[in-house]
């Protein structure tokens, strides 16, 4: 135990560890259960429920207090001691609570949602395992462990995306997700290694919090200098790039975002927990952890990328017809906001948005789950060949699914950022701070807040489109197949309770008693940087008003376009439409520009192995017949294939030696005498 910490209450750590470990135990127990056992769901839920309570206790104890840190020696390698421990500060306890809080409704929801699956207990095994990884990720204190949980999160996500592994699309999606995440992992690993090589420690507390070694290091004259030595400055950039790659992969930022929409092949409850609320937020969390590593210019780049991602994803979301895909792109877009916030120094707002987004996006996904579940129900009942996720078939569901509809509306408004919702508080904070930040910077950088602003209107549009298409108007499927009968409802309490719970959490009271001023939110106040300026400039007033008024217009426009159909509609063949519909063609580009060349490289290498390194013997055989060819190839043979070269050499020397053995004794004598004579003469002459 490290006793450098001033205030230590051991029970806090026990609670925290227990909160992390309980889901693991649940996973282990579930793994041993028969695959169809229904007990699994309740075991997992119980684990997360207890975990949630414990997290709350930890939160209460640590929030706004001194960071708590405890560690024990894990192993020693060389002279380096690698510690394992727990670091509890505002950031981690917030995440701890957030994750367990989101996970709880999702668990409850899942018990119903996965009820009929053949591998019910496997699902909860994986889900609990994910919770364990995610919770572990937020509390660990060492970069090695952080990386370990980081990968485990990706791994459990891999398992869950591919949960229906007989579905080819699901399998391809999970492979893609894992490899994309792997790219990020490599970045993170490189960054960790660089940091380790630089500071000789993996301890996050030492690096970023207590001693803040990273912050104290400087870049000077092309060297990255700190008390522990110096390395070329380029490696500081590489480390940042590495971290950014990790963030981009996990939080689905351009250019590594393409896995997230595909990941929607997993069960919807999984999408809600992992791909909306928790795992994708891990990237932002990572940024929060290693924030001091980034220099100002690097943060700017971060901001640019975040802004671009937010914008791009929003444009794509405009035209998607798959319910979950729209939500996926909106997630990407919102994550872009968070990264942007980090980039512009709005550290607190970013994390605030992370928290609020977790609730309302999870809510929206669960809503989508209900809708899809019901659509699936219709499809199976009537033997239809439709995609249950396609919003083109939906409409008017507000009557059939009232609870779901209300939840959806709350979630959407939060997503758009309409006042009284939590989304308003966090998003406006980001916008305002972005504008403040751009103050006094070059004109190009003004594009960042502008882009963010524009994106928020786009958001308003596509969210409205979604809600309108799903819940308003008339049921389009019924129009097409008038014969079908509808037996759909909101479902049992396992569906409703989570929805209601989350809907409540998406409103402002949880975060702030003042529904209009983001800086009054308690979460923000605890996380904001010390030098935060009070509201004194014009942005604090203009932006909320401007944004929201225009948003309302946009929403109405959407309603008008999709329900009343009394105004213009989009040309569905335009370039912009296609660009958006095909997700900016990024997948195709990746396939052509990266996947194919790599596979090609593999094939080339193998070809090289077979034909050049290995096939030399055949080559030599042929070339010995063609003397001309021999010279051309011999170079390669000498370099690579000495074995086969030797075989051929042996043969030719052997043949040469054998040539004398023609069975004629006089010839032997002749050769002998001649050789002796020649050798003798040569010996004398030389």
């Amino acid at each position: 135990m490290n006793n450098a910490i001033s205030y230590t209450d051991p029970s806090i750590f026990c609670y925290a560890i227990l909160a992390v470990a309980l889901p693991l135990f649940a996973a282990l127990i579930n793994f041993c259960l028969p695959v169809k056992s229904k007990a699994a769901g309740w075991i997992s839920t119980l684990a997360i429920l207890v975990g949630c309570v414990l997290s709350a206790m930890v939160f209460a104890a640590v929030w706004n207090q001194q960071p708590q840190h405890v560690q024990t020696l894990w192993f020693t390698i060389g002279t380096t001691k690698v510690f394992a421990g727990i670091l509890l500060n505002n950031l981690s306890v917030m995440m701890l609570l957030l994750v367990s809080l989101i996970a709880l409704p999702v668990h409850i929801y899942s018990t119903a949602y996965m009820k009929h699956d053949d591998r019910y207990s496997r699902y909860f095994t994986y889900l609990s395992f994910f919770c364990f990884s995610m919770l572990g990720l937020v509390v660990v204190d060492s970069l090695v462990l952080f990386y370990a949980f980081w990968e485990l999160v990706g791994f459990s996500s891999y398992l869950l995306i591919g949960f229906w592994f007989t579905k080819d699309k699901a399998v391809q999606a999970n492979k893609k997700a894992f490899i994309m995440n792997r790219i990020g992992d490599i970045g993170l690993l490189s960054a960790i290694i660089i940091i380790f090589a630089k500071f000789h420690t993996f301890d996050i507390a030492t690096l970023f919090i207590n001693d803040n070694l990273v912050f104290k290091s400087v870049i000077h004259d092309g060297l990255w200098i700190s008390a522990s030595g110096q390395i070329p400055a380029v490696w500081q950039y590489v480390a940042c790039i590495g971290v950014f790659m990790a963030v981009a992969a996990k939080s689905a930022q351009f250019p590594l975002h393409t896995w997230l929409p595909d990941a929607m092949e997993g069960p919807t409850s999984v999408s809600a927990l992992i791909h909306a609320a928790t795992m994708v937020a891990a990237g932002v969390f990572l940024l929060g952890r290693v924030y001091p590593l980034f220099t100002d210019s690097e943060l700017t780049i971060l901001g640019v990328i975040g802004c671009f991602t937010a914008f791009m994803a929003a444009t794509i979301a405009l035209t998607q017809n798959d319910l979950k895909r729209v939500l996926a792109y909106s997630t990407i877009s919102q994550l872009g906001y968070m990264i942007l916030a980090m980039g512009v120094g709005a550290y607190g707002s970013s994390l605030f948005h992370l928290a609020t987004h977790a609730f309302f996006k999870c809510l929206l996904f669960l809503v989508a789950g209900v809708v899809i579940h019901e659509m699936q129900h219709i499809k199976e009942e009537n033997n239809l060949d439709i995609d249950p996720q396609n919003i083109q078939y939906m409409g008017g569901l507000r009557k059939k699914l009232p609870v779901t509809f209300i939840a959806a509306v709350v979630g959407s408004l939060a997503l758009i950022g309409i006042p009284l919702t939590s989304g308003y508080l966090s998003k406006d904070g980001i916008l305002i701070q972005a504008f403040e930040w751009s103050e006094g910077r070059s004109a190009w950088l003004k594009l960042i807040p502008a882009g963010a602003l524009f994106t928020s209107w786009l958001t308003a549009f596509y969210v409205s489109r979604l809600i309108v298409k799903v819940f308003f108007g008339e049921f389009r499927l019924l129009k097409k197949h008038p014969e079908i009968k509808l037996h759909i409802s909101d479902g049992g309490w396992q569906y409703r309770v989570p929805l209601i719970l989350l809907a409540i959490c998406s409103l402002f009271p949880l975060f702030s008693l003042n529904p209009f001023f983001y800086e009054k939110a308690w979460l923000f106040e605890s996380l904001k940087p010390a030098e935060f300026m009070a509201r004194e400039n014009i942005y604090h007033t203009i932006i909320p008003i401007g944004v929201n008024i225009l948003s309302v217009f946009v929403m109405y426009a959407a309603y008008a376009i999709y329900v009343k159909r009394n105004t213009f509609s989009f040309p569905q063949t335009g370039f912009l439409y296609r660009l958006s519909y095909n997700q900016w063609y990024l997948d195709k580009i990746y396939r052509k520009a990266i996947v194919k060349p790599i596979l090609g490289l593999g094939k080339t290498c193998f070809w090289f192995d077979r034909n050049v390194i290995d096939g030399l013997i055949h080559l030599i055989e042929r070339s010995s017949r063609m003397v001309a060819a021999l010279t051309a190839w011999s170079d390669k043979h000498i370099v690579d294939g000495f074995l086969h070269l030797m075989a051929a050499l042996v043969q030719s020397i052997g043949n040469f030696a054998r040539k004398f053995q023609n069975g004629k004794v006089q010839y032997y004598l002749y050769s002998m005498l001649l050789i002796v004579l020649i050798l003798f003469v040569l010996k004398i002459l030389i």
Binding site: G78, I192, I193, A197, P232, I598, F606, W607
Partner: protein, 534 residues
């Protein structure tokens, strides 16, 4: 009785039993072999538990710091003017050997369990198997170069026959290729060994010696001898010590194997029967790495430093080249064979870095790869035994067909591709950490090598995931149709017995790397210190 001697020669005792038993008892051979390997495992674990750590028992270049030592005069001749010939039976272990020893013992047990599939000519098979077992253990324990070489060469022949007689279709080609490659390396190693022997004098007796530990001390070299560091002799125009290092390195590098000396490996692995593949991948490749650490680095430390860049480069090339090749394979076994090339590249990279992290990582990688590759080959063997096909394209949806098997495969694959929690992650991460640290600590390797190495990890994910997706997921669709469907039963108890220890070992090492690091740390530090002192 010295425990190491016992450990080495137990297989021979049991082999004698098998020789004496009539063929009618052939059913019992496998149990006898299993007993022998289990006994070995027991002894090795006992040794492991009783292995003392601490700077005073670090080993490396201090004879008195080795443990479980047995030193008996073996061949001693008075050669008149040429001094005395001194060859000892000298075995002992330090931290680097002990973990490999335990790993090998466990792999041997698994290989025995995999030998159940062997149906023909059992007597010959198990005899050769036990002989190989003995040689392998001997290599890890020998501290006399002559003895080392003896065991080293002794591995060749059993393997040749094991591959050649019980192997696949192209077994002759594979066997000969394997044999020639390795013999090529070792014959020249013999020359260097003799040169070293003539250069080194045992200070205690004054005679020439094959003692590896004595060879590490520059003071023991007679002035003016070929390999004396002070003499700056040349062989064919090149500095003699460089030549010596390169020759030894090539000999071991063939075993490791490195690109471009690796082409024997895919063939040998593919054609070998499963138990032999397991031993090849699990143990034999480690002997190359072990040899490089113990002998190349130990005897020629200054060359190892000046040539570190090239070693590292070879390591990086092996990592990337192996991984690229694995991407292109259709044959599952071949894929795994190439992945071995890639993974063993990390060993070389770590060794080249000459940092504590790098070398520890390399040793860890050897141990870890020992378990994981054995497991992987065993898993391939499971499918191959059932339907005699290994083509990835011929299978689909095995996850439904053989769920438990798939679970094991996933464990093995993810462990291999470096999922945290398993040993390979710790090994590869620290190898890379050591590599990256190298420029600042000793300036041997450039920074970019670590980055390139990490790309290898990425490629590893690609081919393993692709295989998973292709073979195990999706709807069941098998080339052999219903026949295969019936044949492809899930893993049996025996197979589980073999697989679970491997998976458990990999997991245990991943969670508690100190199991390995704790034992090797002192030795590694001593080695690094020794290398820096030169």
């Amino acid at each position: 009785m010295n425990l190491l001697t016992l450990l080495i020669f137990i297989p021979v005792l049991f082999a004698l039993v098998i020789v004496l038993l009539p063929s009618s008892q052939r059913g019992s051979f496998k149990y006898i072999t299993l007993l022998a390997t289990l006994l070995q495992l027991g002894i090795s674990i006992y040794i492991y538990l009783n292995f003392k750590t601490g700077a005073a028992s670090a080993g490396i270049n201090h004879e008195d710091q080795f443990q479980f030592v047995q030193k008996l005069p073996w061949i001693g001749l008075n050669l008149g003017s040429m001094g005395k010939l001194q060859i000892d039976y000298f075995v002992g272990i330090d931290g680097i050997s002990v973990t490999l020893l335990v790993m090998s013992a466990l792999v041997m047990v698994v290989a025995t369990l995999a030998s159940w599939e062997i149906k023909s000519n059992l007597k010959g098979f198990f005899l050769l198997f036990l002989l190989l077992d003995m040689a392998v253990m001997g290599v890890f324990c020998a501290l006399d170069f002559f003895l080392f070489y003896l065991f080293y060469e002794l591995m060749l022949l059993p393997l040749y026959f094991l591959i050649g007689m019980w192997g696949g279709v192209r077994r002759e080609y594979a066997a000969i290729k394997f044999f020639l490659y390795t013999l090529f390396g070792s014959v020249f190693m013999l020359l260097v060994m003799v040169g070293l022997y003539l250069s080194v004098n045992d200070p205690a007796t004054g005679s020439h010696t094959f003692n590896i530990i004595q060879m590490m001390n520059p003071a023991n070299y007679t002035s003016g001898s070929v390999f004396s560091a002070a003499a700056h002799q040349t062989i064919l125009g090149m500095p003699a010590r460089t030549v010596g290092f390169v020759v030894l390195f090539i000999a071991f590098a063939i075993k490791v194997p490195i690109v471009p000396l690796h082409t024997w490996l895919p063939d040998a692995h593919v054609e070998a029967p499963t138990p032999v593949s397991i031993i090849l991948a699990g143990v034999l490749l480690k002997i190359g790495g072990y040899g490089i650490i113990r002998i190349c680095l130990g005897i020629f430390p200054e060359i190892a430093s000046s040539g570190a860049f090239w070693l590292g480069l070879i390591g990086v090339v092996s990592i990337l080249y192996g991984a690229c090749n694995a991407l292109a394979q259709r044959d599952l076994k071949r894929l795994i064979a190439y992945s071995s090339v890639s993974h063993m590249g990390f060993v070389l990279l770590g060794i080249a870095s000459q940092t504590a992290e790098g070398v520890s990582g390399a040793v860890m990688q050897m141990v870890s790869h020992g378990f994981l590759s054995s497991m992987l080959f065993f898993l391939v063997g499971v499918v191959y035994n059932r339907v005699h096909d290994r083509d990835i394209y011929h299978f689909r949806g095995l996850g439904t067909q053989m769920p438990q098997y798939t679970a094991f495969v996933m464990v093995a694959f993810f462990a291999s591709l470096g999922l945290p929690g398993f040993s390979a992650f710790v090994a590869e991460a620290f190898t890379l950490a050591g590599t990256f640290k190298s420029p600042t600590v000793n300036g041997l390797l450039p920074y970019w090598m670590a980055i390139c190495g990490s790309v290898g990890i990425l490629l590893g994910a690609a081919y393993f995931l692709w295989t998973l997706q292709r073979m195990f997921f999706g709807k069941v669709s098998l080339k052999g149709g219903e026949v295969w469907k019936i044949a492809l039963t899930d893993v049996s108890i025996r197979e589980k017995l073999a697989l679970i220890p491997m998976a458990a070992a990999a997991l245990a090492l991943g969670l508690m790397p100190s199991l390995v690091f704790g034992k090797i740390n002192d030795s590694v530090l001593a080695l690094i210190q020794f290398l820096q002192a030169k």
